[in-house]
Symmetry: C2
Subunit: 303 residues, 2 copies
């Protein structure tokens, strides 16, 4: 599909892309660039690409597709750095969980002769780094692209095909709308998970070890999400501040109302809510966005 | 182990107990009693017990062990009903997620010639009803017993052995302390999950279907917990009000501080918290209370 693809950043998403590009033969040559020498060396040991370059300017030379796979906070610096060295007609994309900010950070610095098509694969695990990637990460998952009205349609179409070849279903969406939807489906859940695990972490040592011991009663589900990459998530919250605060406001209002119901012993209020929430789970399973096996099908007997 | 065991209530926990008692031959005869005629019929179709009785008074006759497997709000009524019909020396236990309230509801009504030993198996799935049970539910999971100083030690020891034969590790704990620990590990996580799914449920129809579609980005983990049995959870919050409100207070304080950090763009505050929370996940995996497979090992390719 491409002569040369450059991956800037080689964490979970970057390394998964490297694996799937190799399996599907999507690029003749894959260049990998990352800020940390150690990580770059690890990528080379894993044989993730064909070229390993610390210098980003060098890495993007002659690339037909540049995929920025760093935390979203690094986008502006990268755009500034690579801009003068990009091949005419190159497609520049990213994989960040926030889209409005990525456009604002990158677009002003990029020359008109290249095509910025922001992207976000809705796929991941709680693990990070070049060892965490695997070729099937994007299979049957959504990838959202957020081109604007000025974006070259051929570039968008080509990137769409690329993600389809990676196994994903592609959805085109407005960047601002993406940021609102993801604030609900992803950013708030992560914030809440980090917060509850943080609350537990503040407990006296004895109680904390009991919390860990008896975590199978609900808590452990949250700890998976709260084990996600700290840098990535710091940047998400900083760069999607408005939408996150808006959704957090609604969440807090609802929580106050639940709190009041518990204080008053209003069982009907609780029962009504707890019945309605079951429906959403059913819908998610129906459309294949989660497994219906109890406890996510954890193989607990084998632990 | 027992001549006759009576299960009052035959949902997820009751039916799982029926399965494991059969497999391990823990009782010569198992009587099943439940309020709903339909559920009782289903239990009979599934062959879960030996005796199927709508009348609870009848069901507990001659039983050596009575296990109350209903939502905790039903305990007082059950204690009153069965008290005059219990065999001398019988052990009465339950499986409720709250212990202080169960003791308060049951102890005053039970005669001195029987032994109340409250219990709580830390095991479950998001499914409920007699079809949801399976024999290995309790394997390698904790079961907490909360006898008090007056409880007959032989009765506690016998019930402990019973749960061990069901595959569980048994922990003895003070009822009040149990309720505080579980408020953190279980009740608050459920409340938060119900709340966030409720918040999503209030969105306009279009946005809601997008939330379902893109739920793999974090949200879906919460929907599993928020699909738990509404009656059971209504009763938990009503009957562990004090501890839940105390822990909810701490959670809300911490959330306000996170909110402030986002508003101010305080990345260091966020990064610090997000780094600390990873440790707890590691501890949970180390002691075998969760799997270390990415995404809980969901078999997503097979969907």
């Amino acid at each position: 599909m491409f002569e040369k693809v450059t991956l800037i950043g080689i964490g979970l998403i970057g390394s998964s892309l490297a694996h799937v590009m190799k399996r599907e033969e999507l690029a003749k040559s894959v260049a990998i660039s990352t800020r940390s020498e150690k990580t770059l060396k690890r990528a080379e040991e894993l044989g993730l690409g064909d070229l390993y370059v610390l210098d980003t300017e060098e890495a993007v030379k002659d690339a037909d597709l540049v995929i920025v796979c760093t935390p979203v906070g690094a986008c502006e610096h990268i755009a500034k750095t690579i801009a003068p060295h990009l091949k005419t007609g190159a497609i520049i994309t990213d994989v960040g969980s926030v889209k409005g900010s990525v456009v604002a950070q990158m677009q002003p610095h990029l020359p008109e002769r290249v095509h910025l098509v922001p992207g976000h694969p809705i796929a991941g695990t709680e693990y990070s780094g070049p060892d965490a990637g695997f070729a099937s990460l994007f299979e049957n998952r959504w990838c959202i692209l957020t081109p604007d009205q000025k974006t070259d349609e051929a570039a968008t179409a080509k990137l769409k095909l690329f993600w389809q070849k990676c196994g994903s279903h592609v959805e085109i969406m407005d960047a601002h709308h993406h940021d609102l939807v993801l604030a609900i489906t992803s950013h708030l859940p992560h914030l809440i998970a980090y917060n509850i695990v943080g609350t537990a972490n503040e407990l006296e040592t004895d109680t904390r070890s009991e919390v860990i011991k008896f975590s199978a009663s609900g808590f452990r589900d949250f700890t998976r999400i709260a084990a996600s990459d700290p840098t990535m998530w710091r940047d998400v919250f900083i760069h999607n501040k408005e939408a996150v605060l808006e959704i957090l406001g609604r969440f807090s209002e609802d929580l106050s109302s639940l709190q009041r119901a518990i204080r008053r012993g209003d069982g009907d209020h609780l029962f009504d809510l707890f019945s309605r929430t079951r429906e959403i789970r059913r819908s998610i399973i129906e459309i294949g966005q989660d497994v219906d096996a109890p406890n996510f099908g954890r193989d607990e007997g084998e632990e």
